[in-house]
């Protein structure tokens, strides 16, 4: 049984870490980008960002004033048990979100879409989102918080099989160029692409590809992995850099996730995780151990399974 108090205290720590500490994989990616950048304005911007990450950590203040919209991804091992059950878990995550909003502090970004009511704590109808995933083994839970920023850089389009890779490339470039101008997408960013599913799941796949996969990770399908390399290269050949200034670095990495879709369609979504790629992860065990990390490790073989039954379970049954 995982204690509820541990869940809430860990969740508050994660909120703080996500807002303040840039994940190492993104930092390494941005440093590598800064080395190759030769546009004078773009270079200045990248150096300022690197200074900013240091300042945030030194001062323990949020790295960006727009602290995004906090949300939660919860991954549970099949044997995990939570004190108070899921209702208690959700209350703890909502409470941690509210507490961290005043504690860090974060910007109370969440408002009612029509009445603009602001509870000043980032909690409201449907906020924060809490999404779940499961793994076949384990008595642990993973708490993952992502504070995705930005109103720009994300788009969806229904493509069709006849659009092919050439059509996918066009929509990818259109998204980068349109939202890259003036730096609206807060690039260079981790770009996530969702392909397939339905409209809603396509958006989910693309968003998760950008926020739940790390820089340097590759899709296990070697042909998709090759596309990820090619798309990263393509995005960085536009000639646009940070803030939309002339430069070489638009994409720190490109991650693609797919889901089976209607036979007639080829849904596509593009998402940009901004310069402040806020994510933090911890695994909680029933004995009270907490292991912090920055890789959500969301896309396991189980999450990407394509058969009716999960193989290890079938073997166990035999």
């Amino acid at each position: 049984m995982i204690p509820l108090s541990l869940i809430q205290s860990t969740a508050e720590t994660l909120m703080d870490k996500a807002a303040i500490e840039i994940p190492q994989d993104y930092l390494d990616g941005l440093k590598a980008a800064a080395k190759t950048e030769d546009g004078d304005l773009s270079s200045f911007v990248l150096q300022a960002m690197l200074d900013n990450y240091e300042a945030a950590k030194e001062d323990r203040r949020a790295m960006c004033g727009d602290t995004g919209v906090p949300r939660w991804f919860v991954k549970l091992g099949n044997e995990a048990r939570i004190e108070g059950g899921f209702i208690a878990l959700e209350a703890a995550l909502r409470r941690a979100t509210a507490n961290a909003t005043t504690g860090v502090p974060l910007r109370p970004n969440r408002v009612h879409p029509l009445w603009r009511t602001d509870h000043n704590n980032n909690v409201g109808i449907g906020a924060p989102e809490i999404e779940y995933g499961f793994e076949p083994e384990g008595d642990w839970i993973d708490l993952i918080t992502v504070h995705k920023g930005g109103l720009f850089g994300t788009d969806y389009r229904m493509l069709f099989p006849s659009d092919g890779i050439a059509g996918i490339k066009r929509f990818y470039l259109d998204s980068l160029v349109a939202f890259g101008k003036r730096g609206l997408a807060c690039q260079p960013a981790i770009i996530g692409i969702g392909l397939g599913g339905s409209k809603d799941t396509c958006m989910v796949l693309g968003k998760r590809a950008s926020v739940l996969r790390t820089v340097g990770s590759r899709n296990p399908d070697p042909k998709i992995a090759a596309l990820e390399d090619e798309f990263k290269e393509l995005g960085n050949s536009i000639g646009m850099g940070a803030m939309g200034f002339v430069g070489k670095n638009m994409v720190i990495d490109c991650n693609i996730e797919v889901g089976y879709c209607h036979t007639g369609g080829m849904q596509m979504s593009v998402h940009a995780f901004c310069l402040s790629s806020r994510r933090a992860v911890a695994r909680l065990f029933p004995d009270g151990r907490v292991e912090h990390r920055t890789d959500p490790d969301w896309f396991t073989p189980y999450q990407r399974r394509e058969t009716v039954d999960w193989k290890p379970q079938r073997e166990a049954a035999e």
Partner: protein, 222 residues
Amino acid sequence: MSLREVTLSTTPTAEAIADLRLGDIVYLDGLIYTAREGVYMRALEEKANIPMELPSESAANFHCSPAAVIREDGSFDLGAVTATSSFRFTKWLSEWMEKTGAKLIIGKGGMSSKDYKSYFVPNGAVFLSTVGYGTGALLGRGVENVEAVHWHEELGIAQAMWVIRARRMGPFIVASNLQGECLFERENAKIAENLDRVYEGTRPAVMKRYGETDDRSDEVIG
């Protein structure tokens, strides 16, 4: 690096503004206030009295909501400071400048050269962009003190009018000048020269959308 660094007062002289060049890196000293849609609507549409002496106290309008909290004892805790996209405020800005004498509009992404020529230049104002849009911690360090928070009960923390005393707050980039030229449009034009080559081998979608453009010199703002 060939970029020029300038320290500027938030009640700048006309000469100091005229001297600014596109792409200059600016650090600010003095009082800055935040004003975005909430403040504009309240001051301009609802005609509420602006609770500051403008522009004598400050001619610097920051399009920003800080990551901040008002404590129960009434004190403020302000962490990071970052701009929000300015093009959304075009509707109010001309009237705001005339009313308040704002000379430095600080935000994200800038405006079009058409906006600069039609009401920035006549008001002797320029646009300063935050850098990378994510240097919130660096900008937060430049806040010496939060002097006041106006209208937070009416507008909420994010939309309130925060009055902050800046000490060498920055960096900012000069994104327009008194000729009405736009830094981002200059950069866009350079990048556009390369786009046909980048798009080679791609294909427009078989199903079109209303309102779509294939002219990649177009922008999504404005």
